[in-house]
């Protein structure tokens, strides 16, 4: 049963008519409810007895059971006061006490209203001539109501039969004047009594729906007719049909009221208490009233004034803060406090000016409508406040029931550790085995019990123990992750991963997870760890993001200074890449690892995250303060393991020069071609783009022949499957167009074959292409390349030199992100020429420099496919390229190297070669829709056998590489790495960062950052 609280059943009893919908559920709910009951009887004294009764109870049926249950609750409720509630018989007598709100009368009209709605329809019927019809109606009505009363064994089918069908009159929604809904309904009723020719069946005004009434009738015309002349219905008002499916919703009673049970938390909707948390003390469903307990907001002075007849300022200037009512204080102010015993319950209340107080709380009778009971999530502060002495255990339970009511579906999952919080087996621990609707099968931890036990969801609470790593999935702290450090009942104290601070959450709001999230990391344009410029021209790194402000570690060396700044106090983000000189005058740039050699942070070491005005921000994960950031003068550091950033800086410089040079000549570009050993890498049109989309189409001038960009001319930058990226001549802009939209496509059929086998054939092509480069380079690079240089190259290049331990650097094909155009430019200025003091293993930088290789990318880092069939292209020959100059063994390095270039994507690798079995591809054949398929086999000529997913028989077709496009994986897809040193390795894509994918490898669990281009979605078998 959805809301299996026994309270509800109480409601049912009182209000059975309304429970039509819920009736059938009751049967299922019985079991659960029985167990759930002891929620209210936490006091041990009663409990034992109660439990005995429990067993007896199984034998009782129907009404008896109910009576007892209600009685029992009654007993528990007032147990505090009634020390003698110790035998069942006595309780029986107390049944009546339930009704402790005794001030009837006041609300009668309210209640009447509800009935009035029903009555007119009956009367209307009476007026109808069609007796037979009337008979049927009456019969139906009676059938229905009897059904309600004895309908415990109603089946689904019977229930279904009662639902409106197409044959029944329809429900129409009519717009009327706001605030006159009831009046309109009554008018309609009257009208229908007066005039027998009206063919409407009923008119309903719903309290919660303003501006509309419902009219039941067969035809729209009937409704219009009836509404004609009514003052509150505009003649122009449209009459809308309520779809059959929604008809029941119109009249079904909101479960809201049913949810209201004692001890649930609610919030006030109106008045000075608006928004305040309150606890339900008693519910009167008949009068739609509840008594709630609140922390009073009473201005005693004002109250005193009022009582003494002094002038009371009419207008309240402020809302008094919530404070417990203190009798002594009140007496001091000469406020008369009466102590009165409630005649029904025997409870004592302090009465002041008609207000009821008890234990400092205000007891207030409210209309159900003026409180909201949905999705109440009391905060800890609020609960804390409510927890007055003697209230503790109670408070816990109350919040529990509220929490449980807010539980989402599928709250429990197999494997969850749970603890029983109610019933006979309270405190039993176990693991969830199976979940069926509300019933959870639990494998108990204790031995000697049945293998699994079934519990109602409400009896269980998730269980965590200190040390578990969890994620908060709902509530205020949603999204945070951390480790449980303490368990207090169903409240957990978690050490947040990000802030290393305590968070208090309900166990219910948490799932076990190994995921580590940062929580809030960004406000506006500013993100955690950004370098920002502040108002007063100071600057700093954001080390923590709070709900409305940032903590910034200011760029003041020597002594850490942290300030809290608001969003508006931040002027801008500082993104300019600068460099600084370290103690030994080496250039330090971002991502270089430096060691602090003086000052309080001496000995710390870590990569430089930001540089500004000669001040470095170093990130040292072992540094616990300031999120690991250390602010230090560049002069107080020495670079460790050689700078890698240099090279990217050079790269940037070169861009600049190439910018200039682009219009004149392309000396930079030509240089590489003069280096014969490097044959293959010279030019692939465009590095990873080239790698993938290498295609003779690349660099061709084309014209777009169809599509929205029809008529534009441009140069092909990249070919990806059936898509082509074209740089438009007219607008310095790159657009993506379909291949078939391009005019000059004559050559696309051949490229693959050619490139696959043709290192040789490839080379001759170059001269012809060379002229293109000067033009092409600058255009592409400003956009794309610097990004890569900045982001990737340095890191990778750095890997071999430094004692880096970033395993993911290794074999990261993302190195291709470096544009070949850029490489040639670099050689003379290679960073490794710079003396790299203590550059780890790389003691003989000469080994690199001599070669003048532009591509210093780490040895293992950019393993790219080169073509086996063209050994001539392999630069193995001349030197034994010592990537690792200083092995621990201390062998001297062989100077010189060459082969590094081989790392870059070789031309031989057309797209075809990337394909591999088991990856998902889109097969796009001319004149056909594209199909998703799985590559089963890659043939010698590059074409692939693809089994089409869509075809029922998994038809296998052979497709040319040009017809295939790899399906790009999305986050958390299984992937296969198509290229690089990890080619063929499978993993899971756990995140995407721009053009990089973060991949967790299946076999080693290592996390790697790889270019998205080489990742393919793996077919799920």
């Amino acid at each position: 049963m959805g809301r299996g609280d026994e309270e509800e059943e109480y409601d049912e009893e009182e209000d059975e008519e309304e429970e039509l919908e819920d009736e059938e559920e009751e049967d299922e709910g019985k079991v659960g409810r029985k167990r759930g009951r002891s929620q209210f009887i936490d006091d041990a004294a009663v409990e034992d007895e109660e439990e005995e009764e429990d067993e007896e109870e199984e034998e009782f049926g129907g009404d008896d059971r109910r009576g007892r249950r209600q009685r029992r609750r009654t007993g528990a409720e007032f147990f505090d006061l009634e020390a003698a509630v110790d035998s069942g018989d006595e309780e029986e007598e107390e049944e009546g006490e339930d009704d402790f709100i005794n001030d009837a009368g006041a609300d009668v009209p309210d209640e009447d209203e509800g009935r009035r709605v029903h009555r007119p329809s009956i009367m209307m019927q009476e007026d109808q001539e069609d007796v037979e019809e009337m008979e049927r109606q009456v019969y139906e009505r009676y059938a229905k109501s009897s059904h309600v009363e004895y309908g415990e064994d109603a089946t689904d089918v019977e229930q279904q039969a009662l639902l409106p069908s197409v044959k029944d009159p329809k429900l129409w929604m009519v717009k009327c004047a706001i605030g006159h809904e009831r009046e309109t309904a009554i008018c309609l009723m009257q009208k229908s009594i007066d005039r027998s020719d009206l063919q409407i069946r009923s008119a309903i005004a719903l309290d919660h729906l303003k501006n509309y009434i419902y009219v039941e009738a067969e035809k729209e015309a009937h409704v219009k007719e009836a509404c004609k002349g009514l003052r509150n219905i505009y003649s122009s008002a449209k009459v809308m049909l309520v779809p059959i499916k929604e008809m029941t919703d119109v009249l079904s009673v909101e479960s809201k009221t049913v949810d209201l049970s004692r001890d649930t938390w609610v919030r006030m909707k109106i008045g000075i208490y608006k928004g305040d948390l309150a606890k339900v003390v008693d519910v009167d469903n008949v009068r739609q009233k509840v008594i709630v307990k609140l922390i009073p907001r009473i201005d005693l002075q004002a109250l005193a004034n009022k009582l003494e007849g002094r002038e009371v300022p009419k207008k309240k200037t402020f809302v008094p803060p919530p404070r417990f009512f203190n009798i002594d204080e009140a007496r001091e102010m000469h406020i008369r406090v009466e102590r009165r015993r409630d005649k029904d319950t025997g409870e004592y209340f302090e009465m002041v000016d008609g207000l009821m107080f008890k234990d400092g709380f205000l007891y207030k009778t409210m209309s159900i409508k003026s409180i909201s009971s949905q999705n109440i999530q009391p905060t800890f502060d609020e609960l804390e406040k409510f927890r007055k002495p003697g209230d503790d255990a109670d408070g816990d339970l109350a919040s529990l029931s509220t929490l449980f009511a807010n539980r989402k579906k599928g709250h429990f999952m197999k494997g969850d550790a749970v603890i029983v919080v109610r019933g006979d087996l309270k405190n039993l621990m176990g693991w969830v085995e199976k979940v069926e609707d509300d019933t959870v099968h639990v494998r108990p931890k204790m031995s000697g019990l049945p293998k699994t036990l079934a519990f109602n969801e409400k009896e269980l609470c998730k269980y965590f123990k200190p040390g578990d790593h969890v994620k908060v999935v709902s509530g205020v702290q949603e999204g945070a992750t951390g480790m449980v450090v303490k368990v207090e009942g169903h409240v957990l104290i978690i050490l947040s991963d990000t802030t290393k601070e305590d968070i208090r959450v309900f166990a219910d709001h948490v799932v076990e997870s190994s995921e580590i999230t940062t929580g809030l990391t960004r406000i506006g344009d500013y993100e955690l760890h950004d370098l920002v410029l502040l108002d007063n021209m100071s600057f700093g790194v954001i080390i923590r993001v709070e709900s409305e402000a940032f903590q910034v570690l200011k760029g003041v060396p020597d002594r850490p200074e942290v300030v809290l700044v608001k969003l508006r106090e931040i002027k801008s983000k500082i993104e300019r890449r600068t460099s600084a000189k370290d103690r030994s005058n080496n250039l330090v740039s971002v991502k270089d690892v430096v060691r602090v050699i003086e000052g309080p942070c001496k000995g710390k070491q870590g990569p430089v995250e930001h540089i500004h005005k000669g001040i470095l921000f170093i990130y040292d994960r072992h540094h616990l303060e300031h999120a690991g950031f250390i602010c230090i003068k560049a002069q107080s550091c020495v670079i460790v393991g050689g700078s890698h950033g240099n090279n990217d800086r050079n790269g940037l410089d070169h861009f600049d020069s190439r910018f200039g040079g682009l219009r004149s000549s392309s000396q930079f570009l030509q240089s590489p071609r003069r280096l014969p050993p490097r044959g293959p890498p010279i030019d692939f049109g465009g590095r990873h783009r080239g790698g993938r989309g290498h295609d003779s189409l690349v660099n061709k001038c084309i014209k777009i022949k169809s599509g929205p960009l029809k008529g534009y001319r441009g140069r092909v930058k990249e070919v990806t499957g059936s898509l082509v990226r074209v740089e438009l001549d007219s607008q310095m802009k790159i657009v993506t167009v379909k291949r078939e939209d391009i005019a000059d496509t004559a050559s696309i059929a051949t490229p693959f074959r050619e490139s696959r086998y043709g290192m040789g054939s490839e080379t001759p092509m170059h001269p012809s292409r060379t002229p293109l480069h000067p033009m092409q380079t600058p255009m592409r690079d400003p956009g794309a390349t610097p990004l890569h240089d900045g982001m990737r190259t340095p890191m990778r290049a750095w890997a071999p030199m430094s004692p880096a331990r970033d395993s993911w650097e290794d074999g990261n094909p993302a190195t291709w992100g470096v544009s070949p155009q850029y490489q040639p430019a670099t050689p003379p200025a290679r960073p490794y020429e710079a003396p790299t003091p203590g550059s780890g293993w790389a003691n003989t930088p000469g080994g690199y420099t001599e070669s003048g290789t532009p591509r210093e990318s780490s040895y293992g880092s950019a393993p790219s496919p080169y073509v086996p069939s063209t050994p001539g292209g392999q630069p193995m020959t001349p030197n034994s390229a010592s990537y690792l100059p200083g092995t621990p063994g201390g062998q001297p390095m062989t100077p010189g190297n060459v082969g590094l270039d081989i790392m870059s994507p070789t031309i031989g690798e057309g797209e075809g070669n990337w394909f591999m079995p088991d990856i998902l591809v889109n097969v796009q054949r001319p004149g056909e829709d594209s199909h998703v398929g799985v590559i089963r086999d890659v043939l010698m000529d590059g074409s692939c056998k693809v089994s089409l997913e869509s075809a029922a028989n998994k038809e296998i077709v052979t497709a040319l590489p040009t017809e295939l496009e790899v399906v790009r994986p999305k986050k958390s897809d299984k992937i296969k790495i198509m290229n690089g040193s990890l080619r063929g390795v499978t993993g899971k894509l756990i995140g995407i960062d721009g053009s990089d994918g973060i991949v967790k490898l299946d076999d080693t669990y290592e996390v790697k950052i790889l270019d998205m281009v080489i990742l393919a979605k793996l077919a799920t078998q």
Binding site: R595, H622, P803, G838, S839, G886, G890
Partner: protein, 138 residues
């Protein structure tokens, strides 16, 4: 996660792989790392730049928390402890923490009392005495 397979060193649930692996006491690690550090030193003037932070931290740690400095003593400790049918892990915890009383030893390595092995308090006490003797005569 079924919960039952969860690791718990107190119950010697550290995974098959580690259970079979050879554990090292801090003092042993100190010797190993020292030697390695010397090697590195010979190869380069400034070995600090070659060693990883993990190495450095580990070395500092084991030096600080080695109960026995002397190589012979270290060997003896292992020899003595290995007479008591301890699991590698237990052996090293005892060697690292050097509990002084039987009670303390059991608190540190609860598994020596469980598992149905015969570890009389007397035996434990003797073991602890032996250990402290080594320390004394080191």
């Amino acid at each position: 996660m079924s919960g039952e397979e969860e690791e718990n060193a107190a119950e010697l649930k550290i995974g098959e792989e580690f259970l079979r692996a050879k554990c090292l006491m801090n003092c042993e690690v100190a010797l190993i790392l020292d030697r390695k550090y010397e090697q590195l030193q010979q190869l380069s003037d400034d070995p600090t730049n070659q060693i990883s932070q993990v190495f450095e931290k580990s070395m500092q740690y084991v030096k600080r928390f080695s109960r026995y400095k002397n190589q012979d003593a270290v060997r003896q400790v292992r020899e003595i402890l290995s007479r008591y049918q301890l699991a590698e892990f237990e052996l090293c915890v005892l060697g690292n923490l050097c509990p002084e009383t039987v009670e303390e030893a059991i608190a540190m390595v609860p598994s020596i009392k469980r598992k149905g092995r015969i570890h009389e308090d007397d035996a434990i006490e003797k073991m602890l005495n032996d250990l402290s003797l080594i320390k004394k005569f080191e």
